[in-house]
Structure formats: structure tokens, C-alpha cells
Symmetry: C2
Subunit: 639 residues, 2 copies
């Protein structure tokens, strides 16, 4: 039974992958989007089903009630059917609506030609003739089976969304394990997947990327700026393992814990990939019994998020944290100052830093009448205010979290408050302010006042906005919190965030070490930088090569003799062994190499090398016995 | 049943962890080593048992013969017992033989004192009195139970190895699940583990490390040197995800594949942590249909190796590879040249680079009479010659791999050959050389000749040794192979290796792109560098701070006003808010900060700041209105 469910899961995954890629290929018009919405509303998510399957397998594994297991698996299979039918109908619709797709009928017996090469050739010639998209073999067959089935059961053509919804619901119960349609589809797809396997290009995991030379060039430049800012503030580097013991991460991220990547249990300890750099930092401080540390770390973190939302599953974070006992607001001030230096020096455009205080927030909610056990959950709702309207959040607070409407309205009047830090502060500290009578809020206001004044002296208060709606998702913050938002053209939202977390180290060692820090979401910064480079038409060279040595007679030994002294002199040098001079010049222009040294028969006879300046097109002969010095001096003088 | 096995596995793991740590603590004398060898010979490895357990669980899961499952689990439980008893006897022996261990008897009822604090105090006072090691509570109790059991069944004292071996075998069958001794031990250990849980410091996964500021300072310096060498040769940076699809890694590492870390199946794709940087590079080249790329990558790789051997499970590799069609030996020469530049510029001491050629090796084995299907397996045996004597390898070849003794002897006469590259080469190319008649070997010799001559022109042939015993473990090499060995005092063995792999890219895309590369095992280089720094008493500053601003009146706003302009001027500055001037000077000395700026009442009144040079002890007043410029000029002039 379990085996059955697993194999169904597996097969549906294969077909899903294929149909999904078809959909991705063809999504374009508004109509397709409508279907997508319909689909997402009516269809259970694959993740949910998978979760349930795992649960059932684990249960059956320790021998629970077998009738129940059977029932559950059966339910699951139905859900799979529903997903499958929706995915298929949706894809089919996308295909049928797209006129540029070649919908050649495939014979019922599926007498396809075998062999990758011939199919390729065929495709090519078809493309030339009709300029149409050709469906993959798998897609074409599935389409055929579905169309046959559709024609046998329906009168109308597939041309409007409501017919489609209806059809998906008709199709759904057919995805019975014994049903011939499902069987045929699975069988065909299996065949095709296997035959494709051999000539498929390799892939990388969803939500991950390779960074090639151009992206790396921008990254290296950004990291160098960030490094300098961190070191300017006396921070030392720390490097921690990419995975931690699972117990280190559990209980730190609230609802987001489901996004943690676990390593497989291959015997030994249970580990997970790090989710951020803050928890490993706190673990390091606790483990080594450190009482004070100012550290930075630039490293990748891992979140099993939905990559279709444009989020990545592996991305860099740049963290700067100060742990230890200091005067009030001393490190908090420095952390925000570091943040402004980072964003100013990365030179990506206008931004603002929203600031609030967890204790002020708690006080505010208490004043509004929120019961203390609901503080955190109300906070997470408020945190959504940057993406949702207050009306949406209000609905969540009243309907899901059971808050009285008048409490919500009171919250509403507070969270609207945002503006110039010192002005809003004096309003909140004003005569009839409800915060004065609340000790937590009142001391929070004093802390913020000191912070704002210090930032004013530091001439960066202009970037700060005091925003009572800022709540931050993570549970571990205990004091000042903040979030930087990019205000330029590229829409990326929050680009950095942080705050004070005085209890996190204590969760590990029992010994409290207060801490405050900032995390820069550098991927979004890169997106902006790449955009800016495109706009400004800037080119960052991915390589440093200064000299290209052209050995026209293709002699490796001669090359070694000439190039090695350049390397010895630490001059960035590449060499080539080919005859055509033009190729070297093209290569130098493409890669931005300023100098080419030509070594041909005539130069060898005369005991010289011909040095060409690519920018000025000037050529000159330099004596072979002192060519390294000649080149060196030209590089130094940048001539 | 399965549940039973799992929980036994779990419990034995807990106790194993504890006893192992005791053993690790006490290992010192030769006797203990003898036991360890006995143990490893007679006792099944825990990994084997674990593998079997997984296998059984998977089988039972798909409903196989339940009697067989029962039988298998029973067998496993016996093996667990054997491991447990061996581990315990071994630990017990180590404890009994160590006179420095305090072997206070624990009452049978185990009336231990509770509470971490009192136990700590007790330990401290005991330590002072006797200067003895105190056993942990868990170890003490297990020891007591075992000693009681031992005394009840044996006459002799635990004082020699053979008695011990006998005893371990006696003890083994007692580890029945129903046995009182096992039950008591497991129960007690569980109690202690749980009571320890609350006051335990956090840990990191075995085989991983945090790198703190001093280690990072050395690493940053080394990475910068390595980066420069790579860029000097025109390489571009590439960054790939830390995990790859599992199918990308399978079939690339031969026997070592068992060391690959898998991510848990949480739905979606099956992924594994990267094992090296070569396979992801080949995957990148294939995936992007690249025909030529010279790239470097400095990143961590992951191997689920046994950390007790002093190996790490997470470590850096620095790779430089050239993919593409070039003239014969052109990129091979550059890769070895890069390797010598790296090792020379890292300045870690003397080294040699062993070079050989896969085709020469294959030819040699064929000439010796090794059947072609045994070429690769014989290669892996030969690869062990750097750690084992020829006699040991010969035994493996004859007894395990079924090679005739005379073939082995012929191999022996070849693999002894190592020496100055051009000399050995002319011997092998000499008149009566068997290689001349073998086309593969003969072209390999020509390739090596070109390589050696190019390296001679490059003045780095002096570091090269032509070594016919070099085989390299990995399957994917197809041409020239090499390995760099450190010859200094610190024993680290191989520090870099590489070679030509012309078929790896083709395994992914079907399109062959030849490639050659080097991988620097930087962890071993760090070990050497750290050692050298210790010997030379060198200090690398972990932070760049130039100025420490001492705000003696503890005023954060004043601090912000004075420190911010220094940060604006990009001067590395820290500040403190405390009264005692001495603390600042101590801090500056400790952290190597050259300048301290004191701001006290008297300075404020006079409109000056007091600037102290920590090295010369000189102090001077500088006017507040131009203090940034004054400091800047002193830093520039390094006065």
C-alpha cells in the first residue's frame, strides 16, 4: 500500500515536472494567468500532499491501524489525482490557446521515431518551415491522450475558462489508479523520461544559481566595499560551518522553521543547513564562553522556500553583530551607523531605515488592550503591514486571531504613526501620551531618543524613519529593531534588517550575553547593482589580465621562456599558441586586455618582441633581453 | 521490531558517544593502543551495523518476509552487543590503567548529589587536593556497574590485554536486550544524559570548526595570495551552489561515494553537498554549453569521513582549471606552473611535485601483464604506495585482487622508478625500453617530455619528480597526473593534486570538453602556516583598527560627534564609553591599535583632544577643530 502511494507520488512528480515546464514555457497571456489563479485556489498544494504522505509512511512504519492507513493513502491518491488533473488541464489549455505551438496529431499507437539525432533534425526542418514551437515528445503524447479523452466525453471545444474548470473536475475522479487514462499517461511518460535521460543536459537544484564571471565581478566588488566598512568598525571575521546540529536551530525561527534544510540521517548526528548567520553567531559566543565580540560574517544561508516566487534557496547574507555589555544604545547606534555606511558606499540609490522598539510595540499593544498571550501573534500580523493594507491585517486580527474590533481600531491609530524620528518621539512623549504611564514603553522611548540624537550627531538621521508599524518577524528581538527599504526604481523592498536580541546567547548557555546586529540582504543589493550597471553601460572586468603573449609559431617552449618571467614579475599574463594575429586582437578587445606581445619569425630573427597597445593601436619593437622591464614600466605609467 | 532496533541503535549510540569520549581522553600509552587494535580487528564497525539496520528497515517497509526481518534484527542486536561490550571493556581498561584517574567508588544505589553547581565545586576541591582526573558522573556509574559485574564473574584483576579480550567476549552475549546489566546501564545513562541536557554548552557537528579571528586572519592572507596567483593567469571566479542534484555526483567518485553528504528528502529534488569543486565545474561547463573556460573557485567541500582520523568533514579547496581545446600540454604546463607559484608564494617551505601519466601507467600495467579489466583496481592499490610498503601493496594485489606474483614483481620493478624528470624520461625512452612498442605509453612519454621541457624553461623543473608509482585515486583522470608533497617539518603529506580529465564534461552533456586542473588542499597549508607563525612568533592582526577614541565622560552623543567624522574619512576607528584611561591603553596594546584619542573634561574645556601613540608613549594635544586631518596625516606618514 505504502509502496503504491510512493510510486504514485514519484510518477506524478515526473509528469508534474514535465507539464509544469510546458506551462512555464507557454505562460504569457492574461488568460493563462486566470487559469493559474483558478488552479491555485481549487487545488491542494503538492507540498501539503507530500507532507501528509510522509506522515502516513512514518506512522505505518511503527505499525499503526492498517485500515486507517489504507483510508489515508486512498485519500491522498485522490488528492494527487486532483492536482494531476488540474495541472494537465491547465497545460493543455495553455497549449491549445497558443497558436505558435505546432499541434501535429500523434498516432494513437505512438509510432514515434527513435533516436535523438533524427528527431533533432526533424525538429529543425519543421522549425524552418513553419516557425512554430514544437512540443516535446512527452508533451505531445500526453496532449494526444487527453484530447482523445476530452473529445470522447465533451461536446464543446476547450476555449473558455469555465468549461475548463468543469472539465478539470470531471477529469479528477478519473485519476484512479486503475483508470486506463492515467495508466497510459504514466506508462508513456516513463518511457520518454527514460529515453531522454541519456541526452539531457545537467541541471542544478531549484532555487540555486551558478555565478559566472560577470556576476562574480560585481559580487567581488560589493564584498570588498562591505568588508571595508565592517573592518572600519573594528569587527573581526568569523567563519562557521554551513551546517549546524539540528538542535541548535530548532525553536529559533518560529513558523519559518519549516523552511530549514535538513541533512539526511546517514548515521551520526542530525544536522541542518544554517538558516541565517545570527543563530550560529550566538551559538559560537555561547559555546566559547565569550563575553564580548564584534564580528562580521559574509556567507551563504539556506531556506527551503518556494523558488517560484523568485526567491532563492541559497543566498548570501552579510552580518555585523556586537555582543557584550555596553553602555545603553552604544552598540545599537554603531550598528545603524554601519548600515548607513554600507548602503551609502554601495552607492545603489536612495533608501530609508525604519526604526522601532519591541518594548514600545509591546507597550502599545498592551495599551490597546491586547492580552499578553497574544502579543507575539499580533506582532506577526502587524509585520505584514508593509505588504498588506490595514484592512487586510485587521481582518486577520479579528477573524483569525480573535481580537475585538475596537482593540484593532486602537492599534490602527497607532501603527499609522510614522515620520521624522525626533518629532514623532516628542509627540509620543507628550503631555497626554498613554506611553508615559507604561514603564516598558517609556524606557523604550528614552532609548530611542538617545539613539536618534546620536544618529543626528553622526549626520545620518536624515535616512531614519520612526515607524510604529515595524514589527519584524523573528521572535528573538528584545529591543530596538530596524529595516532598510530601497526607494529607487528597482522594486526589491527590504534590503537589510536587524535589531537587539538580548536572550539568544542565553538560550544556548544559560549565560546571558546581550547583542545587537544587522544583516544585509546582499542578493537584492546585487539585483540593484546589476540593474545600475546595465543602465550606466558600465563594464566591470572579470579578469585582471594585462598582457597577452601571442606565440605565432605555436612553440610551447618558447612560450614558457617568454611568459614565465612576466609571471615571475607578478604581471597578469596569458598566452596563446596559434598563428592568426587577428584572433589575439579580438580576444584582447573582448577581454579588455590592454597589451598584446607578438612573437613571430621576424621578431625572433631580430631579437625583439612586438608590443601592441590595444587602445591606441600603437605598435613598437622592444628588445627581447629587457622586455619584462619595458612592459612593467608601461603598466606602471599606465601608458 | 524495527522500532526496537532503532531504539537500541539510539541508546547504544548515546553510550558509545560517552565511552568513546572517555577513551579519547585517556588514550596515551602503548597498552591502550594494543587494545584499540584488538578492538578494531575483532569488532564489527558501527557503520556496517548501521548500514545493515537501514537496509532491514527499508526492506520491512515494503513488506518482506517478517521471519527473516526478525532474524536479521536479532543478528544486529547481537552485533550491537559486541560493539558495546568491546567499547566498554576498552574504556574500562583505559580508566583502570590510568593512575591519574580518581576511581572513587559509587554506591550501588547511586545516591549521587544533584545540581550542577555543587558537583562542580566538589570537583574543584578534589582536584586541588589530589590533582587527579575526576570521572564524569555517567562514566563513574557505568564503571561501577561493570566492575561489580566483573568482580562477580572473574578472579583475575584487569591488568593484561589477553584477559581483557577474553572478558570482552564473555561480556558480549550479556548484551541481550533483557539482560539486567544492559538495562541498568542504559537506564542510568539516559538519566544522566537528560539531567546534563539543561546545563550543556552547545556543540557543533563533528568534523566541523568555527574559525575565529586569529585563524581567519591567516586564512584571509592566504586566500589573498592564492587569489592573486589565479588572477595572474587570467582565471575568472565561479561560484556554484553548496549542494548539487544527487544525480550530478553519482558515479564520479568510485568507492568514496559513500562519503557524500545527502540532504534529507523533504519533498522535491534529491540533493547532496558537493564533494569537490571539479565535478560542479564540469557540470557548469556542460550545462552552459561552454567550449572554453579558465576559472578558479575557493570554497568549502563536504565529506562524511571519519573525523577521529583528524580529518575534517567541511574544508576549503582552492581549484584552478582550464577547460577547452588547446595545443598539447599548453594548459597542463600552466596548471603545474600555477601550482609552483602558489606554493612558492605561500612561503610554507620545501615541497616536491610528483608527476606521472595515466596512459603511461596503463601501458606499464599492460606490459607487466595485468588484464585490462583489472587496470583501475590495480591502480587504486598502487596509489597506496605513498603510505604503505611495496610488500603490503603486493599482498593486496596477489591476495585480494588475484594478480599473479610474477606480474606483481614486474610492477614492483617499475614503480620503484622515480627521479629527475628528464633523466628518467630518457631512460624510459631508451633503446630497449618496453614502452616504445606500446602506442599509449609512447605518446604519454612524448607529452611528458614536452611538459618537462616547458617547465625547465619556466625554471620550476627543480621541484618536479617523475614518479611511476603515482596513480591518484579518482577514476576520471585521463592524462598527466600530479601531486604536491610538503617536505618540511610539519607532517601533512599531500597538499595539492590534480591532472587531466578529458571525459568528465562529456559525462554530463555528451559533448567532450577536455580539461585539466589543480586543487590545493588549503587546510593542510593552514596547518603549516599556523605552525610557522607560532615558531616565528609572528602576529597577524585580526582587526584593522587604527584609532581608539576614549570618551571618558561616557557621553554617547559626544562620541558620535567625534567618531563619525573619522569614519567618514574612512579611518578604522573604535570608541569606548568608560572612565578608566588604563583600560583603553590595555585594549590598544592587546589589539595592536596604534593610536588612542582621550577625551576628558580637561580636554573638552581646552577645545583639544589628547592623542597618544601607543608604541612611543608620546602624548600631544591636538585642536578639536582639525583633529581628523591631524590623525589622517599621522596615519599616512606612519608616525
Amino acid at each position: 500500500m505504502v509502496q503504491l502511494a510512493v510510486s504514485v507520488g514519484f510518477m506524478s512528480e515526473i509528469s508534474l515536472d514535465r507539464t509544469k515546464s510546458v506551462v512555464a514555457l507557454l505562460y504569457s497571456g492574461e488568460l493563462q494567468k486566470t487559469i493559474k489563479e483558478e488552479f491555485e485556489e481549487k487545488c491542494p498544494s503538492l507540498d501539503t500532499v507530500r507532507e501528509e504522505l510522509r506522515f502516513i509512511i512514518e506512522k505505518s512504519y511503527f505499525g499503526s491501524d492498517s485500515v486507517l492507513v489504507f483510508h489515508n493513502v486512498n485519500e491522498l491518491v485522490k488528492k494527487f489525482g486532483k492536482i494531476l488533473s488540474w495541472e494537465m488541464v491547465m497545460s493543455l489549455y495553455a497549449i491549445e490557446m497558443d497558436d505558435s505551438v505546432d499541434k501535429q496529431e500523434v498516432g494513437g499507437g505512438c509510432s514515434m521515431k527513435n533516436g535523438g539525432e533524427s528527431t533533432k533534425d526533424e525538429k529543425k526542418s519543421e522549425k524552418k518551415k513553419r516557425k512554430k514551437k514544437t512540443l516535446g515528445r512527452g508533451t505531445a503524447i500526453v496532449r494526444q491522450i487527453l484530447m482523445d479523452w476530452f473529445r470522447s466525453t465533451n461536446d464543446a471545444a476547450i476555449d473558455n475558462v469555465s468549461a475548463l474548470v468543469q472539465w478539470a473536475e470531471q477529469l479528477s475522479p478519473c485519476f484512479d489508479l486503475d483508470d486506463a487514462v492515467l495508466g497510459a499517461i504514466l506508462e508513456k511518460i516513463k518511457e520518454i523520461v527514460e529515453s531522454n535521460e541519456t541526452r539531457r543536459l545537467p541541471k542544478i537544484p531549484k532555487g540555486t544559481r551558478d555565478f559566472g564571471k560577470d556576476q562574480m565581478a560585481i559580487r567581488v566588488r560589493a564584498f570588498s566595499i562591505i568588508n571595508k566598512v565592517f573592518k572600519r568598525h573594528g569587527a573581526v571575521a568569523l567563519d562557521t560551518p554551513v551546517f549546524e546540529l539540528r538542535e541548535t536551530l530548532t525553536g529559533k525561527y518560529g513558523e519559518d522553521s519549516k523552511l530549514i534544510y535538513d541533512l539526511a540521517d546517514q548515521g551520526g548526528e542530525l544536522c541542518s543547513l544554517r538558516y541565517d548567520l545570527t543563530v550560529p553567531f550566538a551559538r559560537h559566543v555561547a559555546m566559547n564562553n565569550i563575553s564580548s565580540l564584534k564580528r562580521y560574517q559574509i556567507a551563504k544561508v539556506y531556506r527551503r522556500d518556494n523558488p517560484s516566487k523568485g526567491r532563492y534557496r541559497e543566498f548570501y547574507q552579510c552580518d555585523f553583530d556586537i555582543a557584550g555589555q555596553y553602555e545603553v544604545m552604544q552598540p545599537d547606534f554603531e550598528v545603524i551607523r554601519v548600515l548607513t555606511e554600507l548602503l551609502d558606499e554601495l552607492n545603489i540609490g536612495d533608501y530609508e531605515v525604519k526604526v522601532n522598539h519591541r518594548k514600545l510595540l509591546d507597550g502599545m499593544l498592551e495599551i490597546c488592550g491586547v492580552p499578553s498571550e497574544k502579543l507575539r501573534t499580533v506582532c506577526s500580523s502587524i509585520d505584514k503591514l508593509d505588504k498588506q493594507s490595514f484592512e487586510q491585517v485587521k481582518r486577520e486580527l479579528v477573524e483569525e486571531k480573535g481580537l475585538a474590533a475596537e482593540i484593532t481600531d486602537r492599534i490602527g491609530s497607532f501603527v499609522k504613526k510614522r515620520g521624522s524620528p525626533l518629532e514623532l518621539l516628542s509627540e509620543l512623549k507628550g503631555m497626554d501620551s498613554p506611553f508615559l504611564g507604561h514603564s516598558g514603553s517609556s524606557s523604550a522611548l528614552n532609548e530611542l531618543e538617545l539613539l536618534f540624537k546620536a544618529l543626528e550627531k553622526s549626520k545620518c538621521l536624515g535616512k531614519i524613519v520612526f515607524d510604529l508599524s515595524l514589527a519584524r518577524g523573528l521572535d528573538y528581538y528584545t529591543g530596538m529593531i530596524f529595516e532598510a527599504v530601497f526607494k529607487g526604481a528597482t522594486q526589491v523592498g527590504s534590503i537589510a534588517a536587524g535589531g537587539r536580541y538580548d536572550n539568544l546567547v542565553g538560550m544556548f548557555s544559560g549565560k546571558q550575553v546581550p547583542a545587537v546586529g544587522v544583516s544585509l540582504g546582499i542578493e537584492r543589493v546585487f539585483t540593484i547593482m546589476e540593474q545600475l550597471h546595465k543602465e550606466r553601460n558600465e563594464v566591470i572586468r572579470a579578469m585582471d589580465t594585462q598582457v597577452l603573449v601571442a606565440i605565432l609559431n605555436k612553440d610551447l617552449l618558447l612560450a614558457s621562456e617568454l611568459v614565465s618571467p612576466l609571471w615571475d614579475a607578478k604581471i597578469e599574463t596569458e598566452f596563446g599558441l596559434e598563428k592568426r594575429a587577428r584572433n589575439y586582437i579580438d580576444e584582447a578587445i573582448k577581454s579588455g586586455i590592454p597589451w598584446v606581445v607578438f612573437v613571430g619569425e621576424s621578431e625572433l630573427e631580430r631579437g625583439v618582441l612586438k608590443l601592441k597597445n590595444i587602445k591606441t593601436h600603437q605598435e613598437e619593437d622592444i628588445p627581447r633581453e629587457r622586455f619584462v622591464k619595458e612592459i612593467q614600466s608601461r603598466l606602471l605609467n599606465n601608458v
